[in-house]
Symmetry: C3
């Protein structure tokens, strides 16, 4: 099932972000995910490698979709899953997070999938415990498995990301998805264009390996892939954002704009969609959309990640 011919040896027992990974490492995760994707099509969608292992979904922010995806991925690998949702936790107390995690670890948990409001939380945690840590989103920093499933989906359609032009559209400054996307896509050879109003661009955008455009209409004609970020309504109303209507007029992916795009443009969205806001329904459900494929591929990618970090931990334990 796993491409064992690949000579590469995975060594990380944590997945904290994509910024620190090499192209070879990224490709190894994607290759491993390919092996796992077939399980989804078998009549018994189970593989044994994590039997007896325990994965905890430690979510300090709500995210039903990501939580369920990780849970199903763990379950298909025959791991047991523990849900630990701490809605009202005081996010600022790093100490509480670490004490919570150490307790879970003392109960024999093997992997912590962490969603946390503070950037760097997953890294902090990885320094304090022996269990594997998988970052499921930390503040405005990274959301590595989302970006992995994005590049997996693109690679599946185009064979490779080399030379592709990819637009990421929306509130870039507050998006960990955008950040992980930038690292994964550029390392794999794509050219990334950030699109959005100036107020929603990261302050240090010049340090990123990207170009920036404020004009959706100019960009739409030349890109191979477009990733429409979700508008976070809770951030509206400040002075970063005009009205939704105005935002949609300039940056929404409409049927009209699609008419000027390449015919094989790949349309992506991390979900959940605000239909009629950042994307029109006809486009979200249209032929160019791979939005539901992204969700499906998320399962294979998360299986690969859970499998690889546990393998690395087992190898470290054996002193290899």
């Amino acid at each position: 099932m796993i491409r064992s011919s690949n000579k590469f040896k995975w060594r990380h027992k944590h997945l904290l972000g994509l910024r620190e990974l090499t192209r070879e490492e990224l490709e190894f995760i994607l290759d491993t995910a390919e092996g796992f994707e077939n399980i989804s099509t078998r009549s018994v969608k189970k593989a044994p490698p994590l039997r007896g292992k325990v994965v905890v979904n430690l979510f300090f922010e709500d995210s039903t979709r990501t939580r369920i995806s990780f849970g199903l991925a763990a379950s298909r690998l025959s791991a047991d899953v523990v849900e630990f949702t701490k809605k009202s936790s005081s996010v600022s107390k790093g100490e509480t997070l670490i004490d919570t995690a150490r307790n879970l670890e003392a109960m024999g948990i093997d992997t912590i999938v962490l969603r946390h409001g503070a950037g760097g939380a997953a890294r902090l945690l990885s320094r304090s415990i022996d269990a594997c840590v998988v970052n499921a989103g930390d503040g405005f920093n990274e959301h590595p498995t989302q970006a992995l499933l994005d590049v997996y989906t693109i690679r599946k359609h185009r064979g490779s990301l080399d030379g592709l032009k990819i637009a990421i559209v929306g509130d870039i400054s507050h998006s960990r998805v955008a950040r992980s996307n930038i690292w994964a896509m550029t390392k794999l050879g794509a050219e990334v264009i950030l699109v959005g109003p100036p107020t929603l661009m990261p302050s240090k955008v010049n340090d990123l390996p990207v170009t920036v455009s404020y004009d959706m209409d100019e960009v739409i004609e030349k890109v191979d892939v477009i990733n429409m970020l979700r508008i976070q309504f809770e951030r509206m109303g400040g002075n970063l954002f005009p009205t939704i209507r105005e935002y949609a007029r300039f940056f929404s992916l409409t049927v009209d704009r699609m008419a000027r795009a390449k015919s094989d443009l790949i349309v992506m969205h991390p979900g959940p969609i605000n239909r009629g806001v950042e994307i029109e329904s006809e486009v979200a459900d249209g032929n160019n959309s791979v939005i539901l494929q992204q969700v499906s591929n998320g399962l294979a990618v998360r299986m690969a990640v859970l499998y690889l970090v546990n393998q690395a931990a087992a190898n470290k334990a054996k002193g290899k």
Copy 2:
């Protein structure tokens, strides 16, 4: 375990309501449930048919009891269970429901057990996705597995429903349980009498295959089965309802009324009971009560339903 001698072939990959089922189909579900009931008495209460399948409990309304019953039924068939409770979801947005379900489906979920506040939600969903849909209660429309466990329980005691007189007592107009009961019981040959104050009768009661009575004392003497609906306190206080005390005086199943009933009257209640309101404790816990048997039988019936819809889906996939 399953009565394979039964020549009938189940073809529905959704269970949306009982109104559209034939007597033969209803009996086939009950026969299948009988086969599964024995699993509950084995030392290892597991059967393998849904191993590797995923059942999601997608509950937009609270219902711990029904949710746990479906979860246990799925688990006994070796399926994995995902809980997805969306308390504060905007029930009116059908689109949100469908997007949520499509995402779950993209994650490889095989069956969606849906509880939703809007009548017709399960049917709407079944038209939009490929996964199996089981209606676990939709608005004031139907609650098919509750009615199936009711008729299963009666059949177990009497062998058949043919010719039985069955009273359903309480707030009929707002009860999906009553509605599914009416279809199941009359199709299986019983005569149904609706009992309650005129304000709580459905407006189009003349279109239903039932008779109506406003007089509990007259009905109690002649029926073989009585199904006491739960009083929904949240509906009290409007002009539909007098006080609880007054309601209880006219429609409660009391020890006094039981004294005038047939000695082998079967007393049912969908639970949870309001002791001392619609039913007195002595009656709920008495010899005629089958209330806890209903709960037990619910497991077998839900196993049968989950099994059959998945079989139908597998057969459709094979092009049979």
Copy 3:
């Protein structure tokens, strides 16, 4: 795996409290837990004895830690786990509790792990149902598995509790942990000293097999084990408690106090810790602390309890 040579036969299908157990029974649980502890170190952390059994975590009070520990213990024994958290339940209605439990039992649940705000709730429940009942904390009464993991941890370090001097420090009067500790520790041969302000001592402390001290500094020098109870902030502010600062000055386990303690003092805490309140961080994380070992041992102890009560139920069912 289980020490079968032990001639003792466990007969209780409920674990309600430690007050009623004999020394022999307590030791049998600990011996059984030892057998299960090894499972935690195996690559596949699973044992089959409860396969097909269902354990429900019926928690009327929040306790993520205890709930997860029981869930993992059940899961390692291959049981299925159902979560039933009823936050806003009216604790005073014993009837509601019993109806809830009877319904769960009717669904074929084998063991109910009950956390409830009312002292005696577990015992009340055990009289009303056939399923096994394990008390996971009832009001101010008992928390037997917490005390079992405490004595298990001490026994592991010292071989036996005979003759050990053990201080329990803090709000004794509201602590079910303290109460279960007192029974387990004294039955196993230890001498228990309760330490805290007079306002936080139980009113009938003279009836308990303990001595009392109001002076932490006197006690710290002579004890072998110290168990620091968690300060319940929600109880502060009444007239039982001075300020936290004052409490900490008199009763906190500080580095300074540790310097005057025996060098091999065992430092315990039931968790979660209020760092800097009842215990300083350096002490909680220091060499004398066994706090995380307690958490680990909790898993083995709860596996033993779940295993033994189910065995007793099976034996009773067979008429042995």
